[in-house]
């Protein structure tokens, strides 16, 4: 009898990434179906960090909601409350004093830098592991971020969840010594950011690991609703600060860095260039901060509740991750009837089923990291 060679297809090897895995940027489960080292298919499971923020807002007064929302995207808290406050102000046609608007933008841009620094640092961990060069990058980025958090503390008394935005204005004034400190920060951090940009963008291993990996074409980015640095790296010139301007961004001069290929490399470089643009904005603000009131409404604890008119309203801001939109339905009472958060991380993350298959296991981590999802923002 002849020996027959039976070729049996054992199927794909399924491995789990997460929810408890060192690489995922939060609690997120990715089931990878591998053929050797290549990914054939993926399944993504969301919802491990679902805290019911949207439902919670249905029982809170409008003035109580911003602090809750700051826990949503926990790497750039102010942009959440800024988006919400903006939407409510547009609903009720509340004027915001010029000074308040400037301070809001100042804090938002500072947090954009800190958020992008975290994105870069954790991307280092994805690329190099926590026991190698990635850890060095991570710690350097966090050292710089600490300086920004110190300024936040000086400004608002809180390092992270600043809670500076309230409907009608801001809560805290920018004092002279804070402006001096921000000036020092700009002088300190600009050469450092430029240096990081130079070091990273010329690092051969970095280029090998990220160039033409996880390419998102402009069309795919538009179809999936990507926004922020992810969309801009694909060459889509869309920035809400420019295209649907809010607060005082129309008075400020800044560029919008764009990528060309839409790969992981471009996304990282776009973020680093955005840092420099944010520095430019901060410089303009602290040089030209107008005088005036901090808020057009009475202080926060006034007895009179805010009751927006009946109807629904949507508006969005540019969070460090992209278009952060708030859709509020009001029935005329002091609490929202329904609020829907359009989170940038969720839309950016939805693309992974398209771009991960065909890559290596190691790339699944770096592609996920280059999208910079914050799972508080994805699951809400």
């Amino acid at each position: 009898m002849e020996d027959q060679i039976v070729e049996k297809d054992f199927g794909d090897l399924a491995i789990n990434m997460g929810p408890q895995h060192p690489a995922t940027h939060g609690v997120f489960r990715l089931k990878l179906y591998l053929q050797g080292e290549r990914i054939n298919k993926i399944e993504a499971f969301l919802g491990y960090l679902h805290r019911g923020v949207e439902k919670l807002t249905e029982v809170l007064d409008y003035d109580m909601i911003p602090p809750v929302l700051e826990r949503d995207d926990y790497l750039s808290p102010t942009s959440n409350s800024l988006g919400f406050v903006n939407t409510v102000e547009k609903m009720c046609q509340i004027e915001v004093p010029k000074k308040a608007s400037y301070i809001r933008v100042l804090v938002a841009e500072l947090q954009r830098i800190s958020s992008h620094l975290v994105a870069l640092g954790t991307y280092g961990l994805d690329l190099g592991g926590s026991l190698g060069g990635g850890a060095s990058l991570f710690l350097y980025c966090f050292r710089e971020r600490e300086k920004i958090l110190d300024i936040m503390e000086e400004l608002t008394g809180t390092r992270f969840h600043t809670n500076i935005n309230q409907i009608g204005g801001v809560r805290y004034d920018v004092k002279i010594d804070v402006i001096k400190k921000i000036n020092d920060l700009i002088k300190y951090i600009r050469p450092i950011l430029i240096e990081y940009n130079d070091v990273i963008s010329k690092d051969q291993i970095f280029i090998k690991r990220t160039k033409s990996i996880g390419v998102i074409s402009a069309q795919l980015a538009q179809e999936a609703g990507c926004s922020g640095p992810v969309a801009r790296a694909s060459g889509i010139n869309f920035d809400i600060r420019r295209n649907q301007t809010y607060e005082c961004y129309d008075e400020l001069d800044f560029d919008i860095p764009l990528g060309t290929n839409g790969d992981s490399y471009d996304r990282t470089i776009v973020r680093m260039k955005e840092n420099l643009e944010s520095l430019k904005i901060i410089e303009q603000i602290i040089n030209g901060i107008p005088s005036g009131d901090l808020s057009s409404r009475k202080p926060f604890k006034s007895a009179k509740l805010l009751k927006p008119p009946k109807g629904s309203f949507y508006s969005s801001v540019e969070s460090p991750r992209g278009e952060l939109g708030f859709f509020i339905v009001s029935d005329g009472s002091s609490i929202p009837y329904r609020m829907k958060i359009r989170s940038p991380s969720f839309s950016n993350l939805s693309i992974i089923e398209k771009i991960l298959p065909g890559n290596f296991v190691a790339d699944s981590v770096t592609i996920l990291g280059s999208l910079d999802p914050v799972f508080g923002d994805v699951d809400r």
């Binding site: 491995i15 026991l131 190698g132 710690l139 291993i205 296991v361 190691a362």
Partner: protein, 324 residues
């Protein structure tokens, strides 16, 4: 009989104790250097000047840990893996003229024997990853076998180049021939073969940028995922023992071994290998990790052809200098 056994085993125990001590402090040294590179302080509180008792504390902690084992694992192989890795990396030191005035085994082929013994580590790694019955470990050891086997070729060739020029495979002759000038300073061949040696030694020792078998960003912790307590400590120590072995080897083959500027002593080897080790640490804490396919492509398409060309040049140099 017993006395004979004691006199036989005394140097073995002595050298193992010394090695373990050195290696424990290598870990401390690496943590300190890494901390300096990352603008941190590093271990500080355990032991007064700069946490010098930290290695002891770590060892005690790991020994007192619960020894857990996945229920579906192959118990015999699971325990065999770390022991094998540790034994092999320690026994490679029997050939190195590092602790005693003479190595414990003085063979005329000691370099080849050293490479042969230290390349057996992969058996332990593979066995432990296979028997863990964990998918991360499995992928990790698959990578690890491909990586270590392919990087053995340039490593051996880069070590053969000095041997061909010197004309001997024994450490004694290699050291003797570098009395006046270290091999690293021999024009052209010395530097190229050192670079090849350094790259493939990093890959052999599973260090960043080539630590693909431990890639904790995707494979959690590779083949050590399921290990805990003292077994994990064995793996950890074995990695550093192996690395120190590579450092000693490098300092003997390329940096003149015990020949210092003023004195000739085996202490000089230790100092040189510490410098070599520090350099490896610098590399580790400043690079990202490359991907497995890039690693293998780099090896087979660049490193191995270059090393063969250099080997050929070395042979021709030897031929023309000896026979013409």
């Amino acid at each position: 009989m017993f006395i004979e056994f004691l006199s036989f085993s005394k140097p073995i125990f002595q050298s193992i104790t010394t090695l373990i001590l050195i290696v424990a402090y290598l870990v401390w040294l690496e943590r300190k250097i890494a901390a300096r590179m990352q603008s941190r302080i590093g271990p500080y509180l355990v032991g007064k000047p700069h946490g010098w008792l930290q290695p002891l504390a770590d060892a005690l902690k790991l020994m007192s840990k619960d020894d857990s084992k996945p229920s579906s694992s192959d118990s015999l192989l699971f325990n065999f893996g770390p022991i094998w890795v540790m034994v092999v990396s320690l026994s490679a030191f029997a050939l190195l003229p590092f602790y005693f005035d003479n190595p414990m085994i003085n063979a005329s082929l000691s370099l080849m024997l050293f490479i042969a013994i230290s390349s057996l580590i992969i058996v332990g790694i593979f066995v432990s990853g296979w028997s863990s019955s964990n998918k991360y470990s499995l992928i990790s050891v698959m990578r690890s076998v491909a990586q270590i086997i392919s990087y053995e070729i340039p490593l051996v060739i880069s070590l053969l180049i000095p041997c061909i020029l010197i004309g001997s495979l024994s450490f004694g002759d290699i050291i003797e021939s570098q009395k006046n000038i270290w091999f690293i300073f021999s024009p052209g061949l010395g530097q190229i073969s050192f670079v090849i040696f350094f790259i493939s030694a990093l890959a052999e020792g599973n260090r960043i940028p080539f630590d693909l078998s431990e890639a904790e960003s995707e494979l959690v912790s590779g083949y050590t995922t399921e290990y805990s307590g003292i077994k994990f400590a064995l793996f950890y120590l074995a990695e550093y023992v192996h690395l120190f072995g590579i450092s000693v080897l490098g300092s003997i083959i390329f940096f003149g071994g015990p020949h210092g500027p003023f004195i000739t002593s085996n202490l000089i080897i230790v100092i040189k290998s510490l410098v070599f080790f520090t350099f490896i640490v610098f590399v580790r804490w400043s690079f990202f990790r490359i991907r497995i396919d890039q690693l293998l492509r780099f090896n087979w398409s660049k490193l191995i052809p270059i090393s063969f060309v250099v080997l050929l040049i070395a042979c021709l140099t030897k031929y023309f200098s000896e026979f013409n």
